[in-house]
């Protein structure tokens, strides 16, 4: 198999054995990018020259016998993570030329772990979307079907991993933005517990929901990346001080005796029958592997989307107020006065979906509406959190579909915001409750599109997600299945 098709742990084994070099790995990934990027459009910015230097440094380190967790691994970053000296656009015209003078904490950590940073991946503008269609830099395509969306908002990262344009990537997840595209592209994606991974340098969409996490080819790689990026950050007030376990130690624990909660509310109307069948089959596999399935209820599930559609835009309208054309970013040149400059810069700098959410957010925070919307949403959010607290007294992890459908067609939902928002209906609850979630591939639709199985766990129980995810991967032999499918069905070669 070509180097670009391998996982982190496979490549690290090869480096350790002296069978390849970081430079060779990068060269392989770059050839792959050259071959398929035109079709996929996973990246906004490629940083090939810097990557070559990092690969050379990695090889030098290897020669000195200094292997770090990610030495020589070509990794992509969602273009909402700040990178010192490299444009960080958030997929928006308003930040098209913005070059941060600092690295996000996670980027610092990747560098310190020896990673080779290949580029910045495409996303829905400011991570607002479920299809990576709202990017100022154009849509990303699903490598499994180029007429379809890769999911979003971390669609560029998911597509890049699926198309082997990098070995792994980081994304951000506010309502499902890692898990949903990972599911739609047939890769693994994890949203950690709120506060587990630093948000410093992650451009804020909705601060109480945002979380950085890995998109990888298998669960072991997710564990490796989590080992690197998790941990307390004194630069973030909401960063958790909870100790970080070795996530790899959860890999081979199996599911024997594990109580898997199956919430009936996540298998109701709106779930595509194919997805439902695939997830039910996956539950069967887990049960056969020794897991105990427990039927549970999360009674406030039906309010999750409504709560999200108030809380996220409210925080967003405030977070995006700084893009005013005054200090940095896009400024409309023809403003007559201050107010006019603001209006023109923001009108031209933001796309339609971002503006929609700014308007919604401004509305729900307005005096006279605050109580009815934002305050009420905050109360319901507490109930949603309590649902999970109660559920986790009866089970160790919860299993659900990740996305109600497989990848839809480009343009199919772009003019129907409500339908678009429904793409995240199964993932939003984890953000609202602040708990971790993972998606692992669980088969393909008849049309050849990947589907995802989501596990959720209590706060700081990422280890259980790795355990369940890795066990399922082994029991269902997902790895070989995807590899074969890629060879046979992926329309890139």
């Amino acid at each position: 198999m070509e180097l670009h098709a391998l996982t982190i742990h496979e490549l690290q084994d090869k480096l350790r054995a002296g069978e390849t070099t970081a430079a060779d790995i990068l060269a392989s990934v770059c050839r792959r990018i050259d071959a398929v990027e035109d079709k996929v459009h996973a990246y906004i910015t490629l940083t090939r020259e810097a990557a070559e230097l990092q690969a050379a440094a990695a090889d030098a380190a290897i020669r000195r016998g200094e292997m770090e967790a990610l030495t020589g691994m070509p990794i992509a970053l969602k273009d909402i993570l700040c990178t010192r000296g490299v444009p960080t656009t958030c997929g928006s015209r308003i930040l098209a030329d913005f070059v941060p003078p600092y690295d996000a904490t996670v980027v610092e950590k990747l560098r310190a772990a020896g990673a080779v940073l290949v580029g910045k991946t495409n996303l829905d503008e400011f991570a607002m979307g479920s299809s990576t269609e709202t990017s100022y830099f154009g849509a990303t395509r699903n490598p499994w079907d180029l007429d379809r969306i890769p999911g979003g908002s971390s669609g560029g990262s998911a597509a890049a991993v699926a198309a082997d344009e990098c070995v792994a990537a980081l994304g951000s997840d506010t309502g499902g933005s890692i898990r949903q595209p990972a599911a739609l592209c047939g890769v693994v994606g994890m949203k950690p517990t709120y506060g587990r991974v630093s948000r410093f340098g992650l451009v804020a969409f909705a601060s109480s929901l945002d979380q950085v996490g890995p998109l990888t080819k298998d669960v072991e790689d997710a564990a490796i990346l989590m080992n690197v990026i998790a941990g307390h950050d004194p630069r973030e007030a909401t960063s958790a001080t909870v100790e970080v376990p070795d996530y790899r130690s959860f890999l081979n624990r199996g599911v024997a005796g594990l109580r898997i909660g199956v919430p009936r509310e996540y298998f109701l109307a709106g779930i595509d029958p194919e997805v439902r069948v695939a997830v039910e089959a996956a539950l069967g596999v887990l049960e056969a592997g020794g897991a105990r399935l427990v039927e549970i209820s999360l009674p406030h599930t039906e309010y999750c989307l409504a709560v999200y559609c108030i809380v996220a835009p409210a925080e967003a309208c405030s977070n995006l107020a700084r893009y005013d054309g005054v200090r940095y970013g896009f400024r409309a040149p023809e403003g007559r006065d201050l107010l006019d400059m603001y209006k023109q810069s923001r009108s031209a700098g933001f796309g339609a979906e971002v503006k929609r959410r700014i308007v919604i957010g401004t509305y729900v925070l307005s005096s006279g509406y605050y109580e009815a919307y934002y305050k009420q949403a905050s109360r319901v959010r507490a109930l949603i959190r309590r649902d999970f607290d109660q559920a986790f007294t009866r089970c160790d992890v919860i299993a659900t579909p990740t996305s109600p459908t497989a990848a839809f067609r480009i343009g199919e939902r772009i003019d129907d915001p409500l339908k678009m928002y429904l793409s995240d209906i199964l993932t939003i609850s984890a953000n609202l409750a602040g708990i971790p979630g993972i998606t692992v591939p669980c088969g393909f639709t008849a049309g050849g599109l990947p589907m995802g199985l989501q596990f959720l766990a209590g706060a700081f129980q990422e280890g259980l997600l790795i355990q369940a995810g890795a066990a399922y991967e082994t029991l269902a032999a997902t790895g070989p299945l995807i590899a074969r499918r890629k060879r046979e069905r992926m329309p890139l070669d």
Binding site: L81, C82, T88, C90, L95, F98, P100, P101, Y102, A104, R199, F200, G201, L202, V203, A204, A206, S207, S208, P234, R235, E236, A237, T238, A314, E315, C317, S318, L320, A321, R322, D324, V326, R327, Y328, L338, Y342, T362, L365, S366, S367, Y370, Y374
Partner: protein, 476 residues
């Protein structure tokens, strides 16, 4: 109809922390524009605020000093509005959950001691500053001030006159400076005040329509502006008109308040809890720790000075106006055990010398122990009052001890009769005419002989002894 003014004050005090409230930038005043502006101050994407706990500690001090209830769980909110000096498009402030509520301060007025309620004390960040270029249609932004910690102290509408407002402000100012949490500089804006004022017919419960006054940058201006505004509203009401609810600016030069130009927009700040910051948990232990560092406050000190040292209310007021001055005075008293005399010397000669040089008591060249020693020597009669004044000035110039100065200049008083007697005899012998006139009834000439003796001894003779001996010898 008789009207009663109802006044409430909002004070913004800049806290004297080394670094800003949400980043490590310096708070120092006067640096070149944007020298203290990091990515946090600039509101760059992806940057997060981290609370400076020193700010909370300082605010707790003020809360304790004003008898407020400290909210164990308090938190920050975002106040959203667009302005170029506000880099994030929102100000981080406390809204629904302030640090402290429901306190009071005691204010001494002509009618006696009055309690003015404190509604709330909260922490927030300052904004930057715009610098407009007069020559071009362009403006510049200095973000050195952005993120400098402020504390807002909101009074209850308990104040009933401009004089009382000024007294309340002086009281807050004094406490802040005593606590060493604010430098109190009104010109540089580290102590600012806005006022809400309305009138109501005396005896009526509900408030009238209020105006908000801004731009009063001294105690005197607060008083003048309020006096003006009260009179203005009174005239409006007496003519049967209605006060317009508006913000008015005090114009110092013209001595009037004027409506702020431009139509006032009804701002909707869309406050909501800042998701980037966690609730500030103020534990009992923390409050106790802060309480232990609290100094004696000015009012308590004033009362104690009067009680312990038996000095007048006025003297106690002067001596406690500055915490360092009060400390200095107390050290002098400890050294000489003459509280009243010490008060006279500290408030008289010492403050005069310091004021002449615009020098702070903290830089006083005379150690308190030296002044105490000098007072002691004076009381013993070892030196005269005149010598004491000279010694005091020399101590101030040189920082030398009084005994050293006395030795250097041979200033010890002549109290020995055997030394003084020959001098007086010589003076009398040298002035036979004056002696004759004196003995002839011109008793006024007694002073002339005293002067001559003083001159002959270069002022070192003990005046009491001169008198005694002169009376004896002149009468013959």
């Amino acid at each position: 109809m008789e009207f009663e003014p109802v006044i409430g004050l909002e004070v913004h005090a800049q806290l004297l922390t080394e670094s800003k409230i949400f980043c490590g930038c310096s708070t120092r005043f006067g640096a070149p524009p944007n020298a203290h502006a990091c990515p946090v101050c600039l509101g760059l994407p992806g940057i997060l605020p981290v609370l400076n706990r020193k700010v909370v500690e300082y605010a707790i001090k003020m809360a304790l000093a004003t008898h407020c209830r400290i909210n164990r769980e308090n938190g920050f909110a975002r106040k959203n509005y667009f302005y170029p000096d506000l880099p994030k498009g929102y100000q981080i402030t406390q809204y629904a959950h302030p640090l402290a509520e429901e306190g009071f301060v005691e204010v001494e007025t002509e009618e006696g001691t009055r309690r003015i309620g404190i509604i709330r004390i909260h922490m927030e960040e300052d904004a930057g500053k715009l610098i407009h270029d007069e020559r071009f249609p362009s403006s510049y932004i200095d973000l050195n001030r952005a993120g400098v910690p402020l504390m807002e102290i909101v009074s209850a509408p308990d104040i009933r006159s401009a004089g009382e407002a000024a007294a309340y402000l002086r009281r807050l100012h004094e406490i802040l400076v005593y606590l060493e949490i604010c430098d109190g500089n009104m010109e540089e804006g580290s102590f600012r005040c806005d006022a809400n004022v309305s009138l109501r017919p005396r005896g009526r419960e509900e408030f009238g329509i209020r105006t908000e006054l801004k731009n009063m940058n001294s105690f005197r201006n607060v008083q003048r502006a309020l006096d003006y505004e009260i009179e203005r509203q009174r005239r409006v009401l007496e003519e049967g008109g209605e006060v317009v609810q508006e913000t008015r600016l005090w114009d110092d030069a013209q001595g009037v308040t004027m409506p702020m130009r431009g139509k006032e927009e009804a701002h909707d700040y869309r406050y909501f809890p800042d998701p980037d910051l966690v609730a500030v948990a103020v534990s009992e232990a923390w409050v106790e720790e802060v309480r232990r560092t609290m100094p004696e406050l000015p009012l308590e000190k004033r009362r104690r000075f009067r009680r312990e040292y038996g000095i007048s209310a006025y003297d106690a007021g002067v001596l406690t106006a500055d915490r360092a001055l009060a400390d200095y005075y107390e050290e002098v008293v400890r050294g000489c055990d003459r509280p009243k005399l010490a008060a006279n010397w500290v408030m008289g000669d010492l403050l005069r010398l310091l004021n002449e040089d615009r020098r702070d008591i903290r830089d006083c060249p005379i150690p308190a122990a030296f002044l105490a020693e000098m007072i002691h020597l004076l009381e013993e009669g070892a030196i005269s009052g005149k010598m004491a004044k000279e010694i005091c000035e020399e101590m101030y110039r040189t920082g030398k001890a009084p005994r050293t100065i006395i030795a250097d200049r041979g200033l010890v008083q002549i109290t020995d009769e055997s030394v003084l007697l020959p001098v007086i005899e010589k003076v009398i012998a040298d002035h036979p005419n004056q002696l004759a006139q004196y003995r002839g009834g011109r008793e006024k000439l007694f002073g002339f002989f005293v002067g001559q003796v003083m001159k002959a001894t270069q002022g070192k003779a003990n005046p009491r002894l001169i008198n005694e001996l002169l009376v004896k010898l002149l009468t013959g």
